[in-house]
């Protein structure tokens, strides 16, 4: 035991986890979850709390809720693609031609002004002057069905990107664990942290409200001039864009808070290279959030001006430049791709080290790779616009894009190096970590043909791109997120979930994901363009396989959800250190006390020194140290 806690023997410390009331004799404060006062005062105390752990749990709840909404939208998109949409005209026996729409599941129609018809006579209704009476009706057509599809797809994309993936690991797990892993009592600015949670809620309400009143069909990228012209005169698009702008504020404030926390609040003895790699990843992420998000802020603000006042900066009719919007948009949104993946890499590093019980291979290389990815992320935005920019620019951006592969591959090889000859526990978090390795490798490698100009000419804007970014954003980031939830669930809520059902859920997610998205690589190489609600008949079988995959995926996530919720009610009490981790969060009770630590911890060993120290609250019999090399000099 190297973290010094001068208050009594460690066994009594460990015993708190088994105590019925969750708190022991000489520490009279309960865990952060212990309710104080009645129901309403408890709810109020959560809504106004500045405790980073409660805020982490609140983010987790909000992110999972929105993940559910975005997931249902994804299922709807996949279901719509079950069959191609066709308007079939048939001549009826009485000679009239009847047109039916086939293959469409969702069609809310478009409000259209039509002549009012008397249902009894089938003739137009006339008013006193003999004019035909007009009425507003929702008219269904092939096109209105496509519009419904566009709106559901935009809902899915905007929710998943802005409200789920970006805040998922940093805001939920990062808020909860970054301060504890550093040995701090809280983040540097607790009230700012609360503000950024409320800003997040406020921005999400804006975006979701724009969907409730009819939906936005711009896609999550809001490309001009479409986004400045569609749905003219209505406030929906402005509300959605304003929502994204407000969410950006939340992202900036969280990132700023984390950077200052890492710089100023590390426990005594914790140098930069004693920090867990999860903290390094969140730190690199926070730098990107702080540096890139303001650019999307001004871009979205100008888009709002464009819609409200027609300022013309992005409007070619006025002499403006729509490609400028794309440059601005991707100057933020490409770095933000790494806001999405870097925290996932951080979680993967923790999962692999702890559940393989082995010192991470190449700690410094992984830490610097995080910063390297953050740096490179700012100079590759042009690869989203190979077909919209000059040839020279495209060639330069293509070359720069290949740089990303270097730090990324460094990380993958280091994780594999860690697993080599390790004592691997096959449990739920490790299953997710292995899924992450497989899916991330596929996602990363399929990025190379997209970065190569000649192959990209064929593959761009196709399902190949869709499959590629789902492998990275969902297959890697969200899989790491769910893996991280399983890894830290006992610490957050003090309960153990059923490991068997956890593994079953993970395997179903892994299979479902690959069935859904690997198929889309084939669709893309065969020429299926992205964003369309319909397709030629030859693609039907691939789309149906992909849709079945989405059901398996959904089943896997539902099992996982029920398993986790079940553990809250009926799970075993979690010990302080169920996995044998060496980072500071495993030194405190499960769930942690309000102030995290009873005494300021002193860090005397590295976060992954599994070959040197016995984990907190565990005995040498449970985690034997490897034998010291005899004779010396032979290793």
């Amino acid at each position: 035991m190297s973290t010094i806690d001068t208050h009594g023997p460690h066994d009594s410390h460990a015993a708190h986890g088994h105590d019925d009331h969750g708190h022991g004799g000489h520490h009279h404060e309960g865990s952060y979850l212990t309710p104080r006062g009645g129901l309403f005062s408890t709810i109020w105390s959560w809504m106004t709390t500045v405790d980073h752990k409660k805020l982490g749990v609140m983010y987790l709840t909000a992110v999972l809720t929105l993940f559910f909404v975005g997931g249902v939208a994804a299922l709807a998109v996949r279901a719509e693609l079950w069959a191609p949409n066709r308007a079939v005209s048939e001549t009826q026996p009485d000679g009239t031609v009847k047109t039916t729409i086939k293959g469409q599941l969702f069609n809310i129609g478009v409000p259209t002004e039509v002549t009012k018809v008397d249902p009894a006579t089938g003739k137009p209704v006339l008013d006193a002057q003999g004019n035909e009476v007009k009425e507003w009706k929702r008219v269904e057509s092939l096109n209105s069905g496509n519009q419904t599809y566009n709106r559901i797809m935009t809902l899915h994309g905007a929710i998943m990107v802005f409200m789920v993936i970006i805040p998922s690991i940093p805001a939920a797990l990062g808020n909860f664990f970054l301060p504890i892993m550093l040995g701090a009592k809280d983040v540097a600015f607790p009230r700012l942290n609360l503000l950024s949670w409320w800003v997040y809620v406020f921005g999400s309400v804006f975006a979701v409200a724009s969907v409730i009143v009819g939906g936005v069909d711009t896609g999550w990228t809001f490309y001009t001039p479409y986004s400045t012209m569609t749905d003219a005169g209505h406030w929906r698009v402005v509300a959605m864009v304003a929502g994204a702008f407000i969410l950006g504020f939340s992202s900036i404030l969280t990132g700023l808070n984390f950077i200052v926390t890492v710089h100023k609040l590390r426990a005594p003895g914790m140098g930069w290279f004693d920090m867990p790699l999860f903290v390094w990843a969140i730190y690199a992420t926070a730098i990107i959030q702080v540096l890139a998000t303001p650019v999307i802020g001004i871009t979205l603000l100008m888009l709002i001006f464009e819609r409200l006042f027609h300022v013309g900066i992005f409007d070619p009719r006025m002499g403006g430049d729509p490609v400028l919007f794309q440059h601005f948009f991707w100057f933020y949104s490409h770095p933000v791709v790494y806001v999405m993946i870097l925290p996932g890499m951080g979680v993967a590093s923790e999962l692999i080290a702890v559940h393989a019980h082995k010192r991470l291979f190449g700690y410094r290389a992984i830490a610097f790779a995080s910063l390297g990815i953050a740096g490179v992320s700012f100079i590759v935005w042009g690869h989203h616009m190979f077909t919209a920019e000059g040839e020279l620019a495209a060639a330069v951006f293509s070359a720069l894009t290949f740089l990303v592969a270097i730090p990324t591959a460094v990380k993958v090889f280091n994780w594999l190096g860690t697993l080599y000859k390790a004592h691997i526990s096959i449990n739920t978090p490790m299953c997710y970590a292995l899924s992450f390795l497989f899916l991330f490798s596929i996602g990363g490698l399929t990025g190379l043909p997209l970065a190569t100009l000649s192959t990209d000419m064929h593959l761009h804007d196709s399902y190949f791109v869709v499959a590629h970014f789902h492998y990275v954003m969902m297959g890697s980031t969200l899989i790491a997120f769910v893996g991280g939830i399983h890894h830290w669930w006992p610490k957050m809520f003090g309960r153990m979930y059923n490991d068997t059902w956890g593994i079953i859920g993970c395997v179903l997610v892994f299979i479902g994901f690959n069935v859904t998205f690997f198929t889309q690589f084939f669709l893309g190489t065969r020429g299926m363009p992205r964003r369309y609600a319909s397709y030629v008949d030859e693609f039907t079988i691939f789309h149906q396989i992909s849709t079945v995959g989405s059901w398996i995926l959904a089943l896997g996530f539902l099992i996982t959800l029920f398993n986790l919720l079940h553990s809250l009610v009926a799970g075993k009490k979690a010990p302080p250190n169920p996995w044998g981790g060496l980072t500071l969060e495993w030194s405190v009770e499960s769930p942690p006390s309000e102030h995290n630590f009873h005494h300021e911890p002193l860090v005397t060993h590295g976060p992954y020194a599994f070959d040197e120290v016995v984990p907190f609250h565990r005995t040498p019999e449970e985690f034997p140290l490897p034998p010291k090399p005899v004779g010396g000099g032979h290793h």
């Binding site: 405790d51 600015f189 100023k264 609040l265 702080v290 303001p294 027609h310 900066i313 006025m318 400028l324």
Partner: protein, 231 residues
């Protein structure tokens, strides 16, 4: 409210004698006053970085549009009167001086000067906005020199002048919003200074708001030549 929430709230005064600033406690999760001061300063510098990047988007839009339509931008800067812009520059520079001076006043425990300088800074901000709105925006708007589709100035010499006005109003409008926010923050400092909150041991708030105010000034220092002086 649980224990941690009450501890995490802003620095509160402990009981006892002496002026308020000497009794202010640091937040519970910092080890001491200095650590809190450094953290707040670092946080504000990071925030200022985001502000610079926010305006950099506007500067890039300015550069690209200027490159595409040099004539419209040359005409545009001729429509602006550099004397009003110059006066506003002087007003903001003066306010930056009084802001910096108020930090010094807090450090030296000169409570009277601290209140005076904070109030003076707010008034300079107000003067800036008055000049901007009444002497610059209002007459131009009335002449039809407006952004985008609202543009209706009959004597325009170049078809792309609406773009110039779009950039002008966006950039100066967002800057004016920042001046307004800064005035709000300094007013808050002023009200707290009436109670004697700031002094040699506790002046973090004055320091970080001062940093923000200097940045607002600095943005104007860049906007002024770009919009008014370059022909």
């Amino acid at each position: 409210m649980s224990a941690i929430d009450s501890h995490g709230s802003p620095p509160t005064a402990a009981g006892g004698k002496g002026p308020l600033w000497s009794r202010m406690k640091h937040a519970h999760h910092f080890r001491n006053h200095d650590e809190e001061f450094d953290a707040c300063k670092l946080g504000m510098w990071l925030f200022l970085t985001t502000e610079v990047l926010l305006f950099s988007g506007l500067f890039v839009a300015y550069a690209i549009m200027r490159m595409k339509y040099p004539q419209a931008f040359t005409n545009g800067s001729h429509y602006l009167d550099w004397r009003w812009g110059g006066l506003n520059t002087i007003v903001l520079l003066l306010s930056s001086f009084t802001m910096a001076y108020s930090i010094r006043n807090a450090q030296m425990n000169k409570q009277g000067w601290l209140k005076f300088n904070l109030a003076f800074t707010v008034l300079c901000g107000a003067l800036f906005l008055v000049i901007k709105f009444t002497l610059e925006y209002a007459p131009k708007w009335a002449q039809g020199k407006r952004p985008g589709f609202l543009f209706s100035y009959p004597n325009a010499q170049d078809p792309y002048e609406p773009i110039w006005w779009s950039i002008y109003y966006s950039a100066t409008g967002i800057h004016a919003t920042h001046v307004l926010i800064g005035m709000g923050l300094i007013t808050y400092l002023f009200l707290r200074s009436l109670k004697g909150t700031y002094g040699p041991k506790h002046y973090t708030g004055v320091e970080v708001v001062g940093l923000y105010w200097h940045l607002v000034d600095l943005i104007w220092i860049f906007l002024f030549p770009l919009l008014y002086l370059i022909h």
